[in-house]
Symmetry: C2
Subunit: 241 residues, 2 copies
Amino acid sequence: MSSYLIRRLTLRDSTLSPASLQALTQGLSAPVSIPAGTVIVEQGSRPGLCTLVVSGWAARLSALPDGRRSTVALHISGDFVDLHSYPIKVMDHSVISLSACAVATIDHPTIRRITETDAHLTRVLWLQTLVDASIHRQWLLSAARRSALEHTAHLICELFTRLRVVSLATPGKPFQLPLSQQQLADALGISSEHLNRMLAELRSRRLFEWRGVEAQVLDLEALQALAQFDATYLVMQDEPR
Amino acid sequence: MSSYLIRRLTLRDSTLSPASLQALTQGLSAPVSIPAGTVIVEQGSRPGLCTLVVSGWAARLSALPDGRRSTVALHISGDFVDLHSYPIKVMDHSVISLSACAVATIDHPTIRRITETDAHLTRVLWLQTLVDASIHRQWLLSAARRSALEHTAHLICELFTRLRVVSLATPGKPFQLPLSQQQLADALGISSEHLNRMLAELRSRRLFEWRGVEAQVLDLEALQALAQFDATYLVMQDEPR
DNA sequence: CGTAGACTTGACGGCACTCAAACAAGGTGG
DNA sequence: CCACCTTGTTTGAGTGCCGTCAAGTCTACG
């Protein structure tokens, strides 16, 4: 049920003991199905639990008082969407499902117990939130310095790499990308019309294709070169503590 | 010596025990003075310690393979610039001093000892890294949805608020902003020429003035309204664990 | 007093936004 | 079964914010 999470955690930190993994998975509720567009956490709220995406896609949305808003993170199977709500308490953004999802929750008292008894697992949870931060920084770099085409290519490379980690994508094969162009454009901070033009350009260069929910990277090397993609920031290596 | 840090930590979490505070401050090295422009940590490196800004300003710079780069965070007295290097290991960005600085360090083994013996202090350190992430998200929102003028006003509000937390700024009084326009523009992801025009606009509206290193917010309410600034994301309230 | 660096101002161009309409696809009810 | 509606995608035209280039001004400092 939380196999994607386990795949991520064991890939990232092979030293995580079975006991720690069990402590985490036993703290998780049974998965609940929610339709696309469901608000999982509200900006300004004080959640009493953290949510794990078991399957499907979710996004974090930051809103201005006047209503303008932007996607500040995308999440896939195996991602905690609001693990930071345990230390931070007040949500600075909302979380919504972008596709139909299954989500499981773990409440703050359980996490607190983990932090008091399992230093290693605590560090792994901390690490998960830091990977989110690392992705934020890469998005900031993209927004400031990459052209819209490069930015688009970069996000595709990032998502493809993250999907590979949890075996939801394989080089040379199509993968599921159940978003609208509007949603992807929002994550890039560009208009959907402009994204559409960028996608047409990537298609004409035979780098990337996307019809409906099925997407395919046609030339991974060239796409990564265009995006100047370096996967280091996604932290996928095993690291001794 | 690390009084700004203590001011931040005790403001943020009044439940932090004197023993925990002492454990942290005793783990810190004596402050070292470094000139402006010093590379504190290199992108791609694996630091064995974390750096605290005791005084002065520092920045995190993310670079693309082709040399283009952007500032992804600004740091002031009392900020850890690379606390995340303990869980993440490989730096995804560089850190450099923007002004003359005093910095202190704490090595990873000491932090590890803290995580194994002091769950509460660990949570506070985790929180510090999450506030950085929260700021990243606000910068993403600014980059995507605020105009250059609003974006500029917002960063000024943010820095002013963060300086107030460590008593380096007071409403109605000038404060030290020892950066060049180029450096501030880089943090905003806009050109220095355009920032210059935005600063002229803020000056003409009698919202903000900045000559040399001395800056002053002339009308805090109006500046915050223009920026749509909401300080929640900076997490300054005391919170019970 | 001269030089270097930072700041200021102007002109021009382009990337990406906005507005608008056409097209495609899927669902619904008459 | 097919109008009809809704939602998403595609394409076009016009605009504007902001970047780039360039020149000029100010300030600090040797």
